[in-house]
Amino acid sequence: MRRLLPFALCLAFAVPVRAADMNITVEIPTLKVSEYHRPYVAVWIERDNATVANLAVWYEMKKGDGEGTKWLKDMRQWWRRGGRDQTMPIDGVSGATRPAGQHQLHFTDGKAPLGTLAPGHYELVVEAAREVGGHDTQRIAFDWPAKTPQHLFAKGGEELGQISLDINP
């Protein structure tokens, strides 16, 4: 009991000061096509059509001669809303393309790449562009900070499966 008390105290104090966080699930669907390449995917947060945080950019990093960066502009919305101002790779944000399946992303308030969002109305945007394939943009509107836990999702289209956004206040 004596041993447990400090732990319980810790817990009691730790819970109220725990930083808000968001868990994002991005589903890349399995596509039956004759020529398949993993999609380029960008995940970012917008406010009033302006990017406030780039959360993830998955692109072909291994190819030499700039062949990988050549197709970044196919993520047209991301490119236009700030992707074109970035120098690739983006530390802590960009990474290699991912296979079909559900991909979990976790971000914490106050920490890069999410940073500190001013209170307000935002949109989470996920955009996918696939070589010799299609293009898909999904948006989830949310308010920050959340008063209660939020479970939000977008249904997805051709190139993206379900996108979910879970916000823990």
């Binding site: 001669d65 700039g66 062949e67 990988g68 960066t69 050549k70 197709w71 970044l72 502009k73 047209r76 919305q77 490119w79 236009r80 992707g83 074109r84 101002d85 293009h135 943009t137």
Partner: protein
């Protein structure tokens, strides 16, 4: 033969300012929005009826002026002129907007010899020698035309877009490589650096071969020379304006015909 072809091309280029002409001159780059430092574009340039199918004459690449984002003039590579089109490649190593322009300054003359009407087109330097001594009713027009397109690596910039203040020119208000379907884009037309007010401007989406109508968008510049289009859908638009005035720079010319054309790519949302 080569000379004859060149002359034919020149003729085609020079007749363009006449609004009634069906032939359209254009440059179409393989991409207008580019990512990556080691990027190239390849460009087709031609005079045609259909957009953008070379079916008439190639454009003359000796009129090509390419301005890099830093304002410097850069050279194309792999230039070639074929039967129906010219092509060239352009490295785009710098971040920002490149302006590709076919700049044409020419002279058109009509005259009568022994009661028969003759027509001649050429350069101002050739004019004097071209008109026979006994020619009557000599009428000389100056031609000034500019055919442009734009290519941007990374973020758009303005360094290459400064007007020369000669002839009919376009000054982007909306960045010319930042165009999206459903959005309004605004530009300004200048004549010798001054706003070109009340000028008709048309825009036609490419792929005219596969539809029954031109589906031409029309507008008119305001007092500041500004005009806007709200692009109904994504595509490569041929934007054109032409006019004429009496502000000639060629001696003996009584009229100046001015034309401006741009191919502007509008991307889907």
């Amino acid at each position: 033969m080569k000379h004859a072809l060149a002359r034919a091309v020149l003729c085609a280029a020079l007749v363009l300012p006449a609004a009634a002409q069906a032939h359209k001159m254009w440059m179409v780059p393989s991409a207008t929005v580019i990512s990556g430092d080691d990027a190239w574009v390849t460009v087709d340039a031609a005079v045609s009826n259909d957009l953008y199918y070379p079916d008439h004459f190639p454009a003359r690449l000796d009129q090509l002026v390419i301005t890099a984002p830093d304002g410097s003039t850069v050279k194309p590579e792999n230039e070639a002129t074929g039967k129906y089109r010219s092509t060239f490649d352009l490295a785009v190593p710098l971040k920002g907007t490149y302006r590709l322009a076919l700049v044409n300054q020419g002279v058109f003359a009509s005259y009568e010899v022994d009661g028969k009407k003759q027509r001649w087109r050429g350069t101002p330097a050739e004019l004097k020698a071209a008109i026979p001594a006994g020619a009557k009713n000599v009428q000389v027009s100056e031609m000034s035309s500019r055919v442009e397109t734009f290519v941007t690596q990374g973020s758009p910039s303005d360094g290459a877009l400064k007007p020369t203040n000669k002839g009919l020119e376009l000054v982007p208000v909306t960045k010319p490589n930042d165009l999206m379907a459903g959005e309004k884009a605004t530009f300004q037309l200048l004549i010798d650096g001054k706003p070109a007010a009340n000028l008709k401007v048309v825009a036609i989406d490419g792929g005219t071969r596969y539809r029954n109508k031109q589906d031409e968008l029309d507008t008119t510049t305001d007092k500041d020379g500004r005009f806007s289009f709200t692009w109904p859908e994504a595509g490569m638009y041929w934007v054109n304006a032409s006019t004429e005035d009496a502000k000639t720079s060629v001696k003996d010319a009584t009229q100046r015909r001015l034309a401006y054309t741009a191919t502007l790519e509008v991307l889907p949302q």
